[in-house]
């Protein structure tokens, strides 16, 4: 099994020519720090996927335990013009990860968005609060068990129909 920054690389299926590593949640910060030190100076993208109802083979590398949530961070090295994707499995019964804020301050609103949409908490985040939904919103909209159309919309007919 190929290793990079101490984390398994790729899956059975190469991810369309794009470099992917799969650190475990306990490795997350250490691997991220190693990646940061290696010249990946910008956190380009940060998101999550809820694999609750995924029907196909996840094709994770050997030794990576599939979990319900997966957090995906895309990194850019401007110097080498290179991208790297980090995918980490986050269990449903304890959806927490340490924050990447201290390595890439740009993770602040992206992590808030993942918290807002998936309910994954980031320990040590300076302001972990909802960002797109109202502060008092119940539930996490991008989870697969959150139905769309669950909030009834009342359509009113025009009162003066001629």
């Amino acid at each position: 099994m190929a290793e990079r920054y101490g984390a398994p690389v790729g899956g059975d299926r190469p991810s369309r020519g794009q470099a992917v590593i799969h650190p475990s949640p306990s490795q997350w910060l250490d691997v991220a720090a190693a990646v940061r030190a290696d010249g990946f100076d910008q956190l380009i993208d940060f998101t999550a996927v809820d694999y609750l109802t995924y029907g196909a083979d996840r094709s994770l590398p050997e030794g990576v335990q599939p979990e319900r949530f997966e957090v995906v961070a895309s990194l850019m090295s401007h110097e080498r013009r290179e991208r790297l994707r980090m995918r980490v499995q986050v269990p449903a019964d304890d959806p927490t990860l340490p924050t990447l804020f201290d390595l890439w301050p740009g993770s602040e609103s992206l992590e808030r968005e993942v918290y807002d949409m998936f309910g994954i908490a980031f320990e040590g985040h300076p302001d972990l609060s909802r960002i797109l939904m109202p502060e008092d919103w119940p539930g996490y909209p991008l989870r697969k068990d959150y139905d769309s159309g669950r909030i009834p919309v009342q359509f009113k007919a025009a009162s003066n129909v001629r």
Partner: protein, 429 residues
Amino acid sequence: MSTTDIAPAGAERVSRREPSAVLRMSEAEAAAIGGDPDDPGDDELVLLNMGPSHPSTHGVLRLMLELSGETVLRSKPVIGYLHTGMEKTGEQLTYLQGGTNVTRMDYASPLFNELAFSLATERLLGIEVPARATWIRMLMCELNRVSSHLLFMATNGMDLGAVSMMIYGWREREEVLRFFEKVTGLRMNHNYIRPGGVAADLPADWRADVSELIELIEPRLDEYDTLLTGQPIWRERLQGVGIISAAEAVALGATGPILRGAGMAWDLRRDEPYLFYDQVDFDVIVGTHGDCYDRYAIRLNEIRESLRIVAQIIDAVPSGDYRTQDKKVTPPPRARIDESMEALIHHFKIFTEGFKVPAGEAYAAVESPRGELGVYLVSDGTSVPYRVHVRAPSFVNLQTLPHLMQDGLIADGVAIISSVDPIMGEVDR
């Protein structure tokens, strides 16, 4: 030149351990302690709400400002007023329908959304797009960059009191949109770039139309220079306002004119060429001071560079197919449907069920007028994406706002919001 020279690593100023520019406070907390701005005896720090429907906030951006007198100490953008769950909607539309959804995110440059979505889908499918389709995509996207930056010129002028600029910017943009309407049928939200190519071929006289556009817009840009660029009031208003360094911009994830304005020559069209950008000549415009003036000048000159690219595309577009002939993603031509039952069924299947995309995940990024626009797709092997995530440049760029506004005046805040050029449809999605 190595990139390290222009982007020193480290981001000390934006570290949480330093006094922060970001006001990290919930709405409820703010409501509980906010001072009374009408009370002359209250000379404590004042929390002021600005927006969401404020004429300078480009839609529905709301800011919580912590003020000492007229000086902004800390601020917090409060967003979500346009959130309609478009990523969730994307999980219910087929790959063919997906374009109609993503095109509405950054409504000032819809073709870039469609392009990023199509590139990600094509990466999953593993298909090649014909050369003509790729050139058409480039032509349309560069014209879209022109129209988007013209929109910026218009609103930036209006925000700073150069109201005639608003009319001029709108006037030129309309000419570009007229060409879009002729090609795609719509002024905005085109759904023109689709997985596999583009929806329709260019009209027969497109070369004349595009040449006319270039001839029309180029001299107008020189008029803008006369009107704004060299004008002392305009310079006073923008120079030295809203400064950010390259290291801060990189640390905060900023891309596009904000990053280039800070002096870092980074443009995906040159540094990670997609489509045929490696076959055209253009310059990456870079600023030195990272202030509002640099960001204004970069966008103005990027219009010139885009027109330069468009002029090269006119001569470069080859004849050929405007979409792939891969029958998996492209419906049979209209003429075949009349003579073949199988073709009719095939056509029906593609538009009802959609085409199946192999399981896996892929990310595709393009340089939109606002920065890196990326689409992350996860497929489970069906005809509907399992997850659609859009890396919206405006959303990430908005993080720079508190840092740009810190220690400035509220009045400069208006110039700064304008120079970040956020499109709220893409911030909130």
